[in-house]
Amino acid sequence: MNGIFDKLAASLEFPFVRYALIVGTLIALCSSLFGVTLVLKRFSFIGDGLSHVAFGAMAIAMILRLTNEMPLVLVLTIISAVLLLRTGQNTKIRGDAAVAMVSVGALALGYLLMNLFPTSSNLSGDVCSTLFGAFSILTLSQTEVWLSVALSLLVVGLFVFFYNKIFAVTFDENFSRATGVNAPGYNLLIAVIVAVIIVLAMNLVGSLLISALIIFPALSAMRVYKSFLSVTICAAVVSVICAVLGMLIAIVADTPVGSTIVAVNIAAFLSFALAGKLKG
């Protein structure tokens, strides 16, 4: 037992580990906030698609050998979010089909690019860390740390400010539109924020596990709580606790950060499902 704490204490000596913990906690917080909206509104398909787009964008950033990969990835993902939302409203190409095309395409092209222009000898390691996060949270540059912190706080701020509108538009978009609420505008806002969250979360858990980080806490909370407010708060708390626990376990046990966090989230989900059953 003492060994574990010694190892933790030793790791926490490193500033980059402390940064990683802070950034990871903030990312977990803001990704959980939009979980309910993503689970319930048919935005979940956009979330999935965008995480693959972010992978493709990351590949481009890598072969360009950018020191700060995030800004480019951010811009490309936001543009894709806006485009996907547009096609989603277009009845000719079904939204889901468009998302599938874009997301699988981005995945394939990203991998192809990384193969054609390898930037390091350890290609599969690079791919793996982009897909599963591995240790990217520990390798953020100083700029990226501050950018992540600023963006996370911005996301939380926007969520609080637009909380009631997000609820109204998520609950019943047609009613909102019919009664003069700018629903298309808020849809766009949600899509852009989701893009930001995805880019942030990619650093923590990698592009394949982003959906898990966003959706699991909301699903857990929905097992037990019945109002939008309580589900939102519970999801945020669960997500932060799971992320902190996951990161600490990963440090101690030398496991990959992303999958450890998701594993903790799965455990949380199972306990909430059980609690929901017992509560009836």
Partner: protein
């Protein structure tokens, strides 16, 4: 000038017309009852008025400076996802959203308005309950309370009494009549309940093979009614 002007509009989906050559006007303070058989296009008309479905031809214009955020709406069906976590109070309050602009939080007045409509719909006991665990009639009352929160000048109701028990139905008709007479709110209501609807309405729009638009009195004499009556009694 009129609140709504519909001129030679064709309504339908994806180029297939359901109602053609429809013309009518709604004046401030009117109580318009829309009747017609199942599938004749009544709900479609309401969605077109609200801008949710574009007209195929012609136009439905708003006049008198009527803004979208002065409209309350009760849809016939609200496809709420099964697991949506939302309490009655959260949903009713969301009806106030259209008057809030960019303001982030509900004011005291907004909350009071929501409580008032919760009370009007007899939902006090249910206010903290989860929407998806209510009965069909209770859910209908929640959506009505939300519609009342959103209403400023015009209220559109798509079969508001469907699924309500007789007592609540009678109270609701009285409430709508009061909104119309005392608060001067213009009402457009779709209903299959001809007797009750005609007791309160001032104008009637019949959608279907025979289009009819005119005062209630003219409607009672008209052919459209006899056509519908035959169907109702058959």
């Amino acid at each position: 000038m009129s609140l709504l002007i519909c001129e030679n509009a064709s309504l339908g989906y994806e180029g297939r017309p359901i109602v053609q050559n429809l013309s009518f006007t709604v004046e401030e303070g009117d109580y318009l009852c829309v009747v017609g058989e199942n599938g004749s296009g009544k709900s479609t008309l309401m969605k077109t008025i609200l801008g949710l479905t574009p007209p195929l031809k012609g136009s439905i214009k708003t006049g008198d400076g009527l803004k979208a955020n002065e409209i309350g709406y009760l849809p016939q069906q609200t496809p709420v996802q099964r697991d949506f976590p939302a309490t009655v109070r959260e949903i009713v309050r969301s009806g106030c959203q259209n008057r809030m602009g960019l303001k982030p939080f509900y004011s005291k007045e907004d909350k009071a308005r929501a409580e008032e409509n919760i009370r009007r719909m007899g939902l006090e006991e249910l206010a903290g309950r989860c929407y998806r665990e209510l009965s069909g009639g209770q859910q209908q009352r929640v959506l009505l309370a939300r519609a009342l929160c959103a209403t400023g000048r015009l209220l559109l109701l798509d079969e508001p009494v469907a699924g309500l028990d007789p007592k609540v139905t009678a109270e609701l008709y009285q409430l709508i009549a009061d909104l119309n007479r005392k608060d001067g709110i213009t009402i457009i209501m779709i209903s299959h309940d001809l007797n009750a609807a005609l007791a309160y309405a001032s104008k009637v729009l019949h959608v279907g093979h025979h289009l009819f638009f005119g005062s209630k009195e003219a409607y009672l004499d008209s052919e459209a009614l006899s056509g519908l009556n035959r169907e109702v009694t058959a």
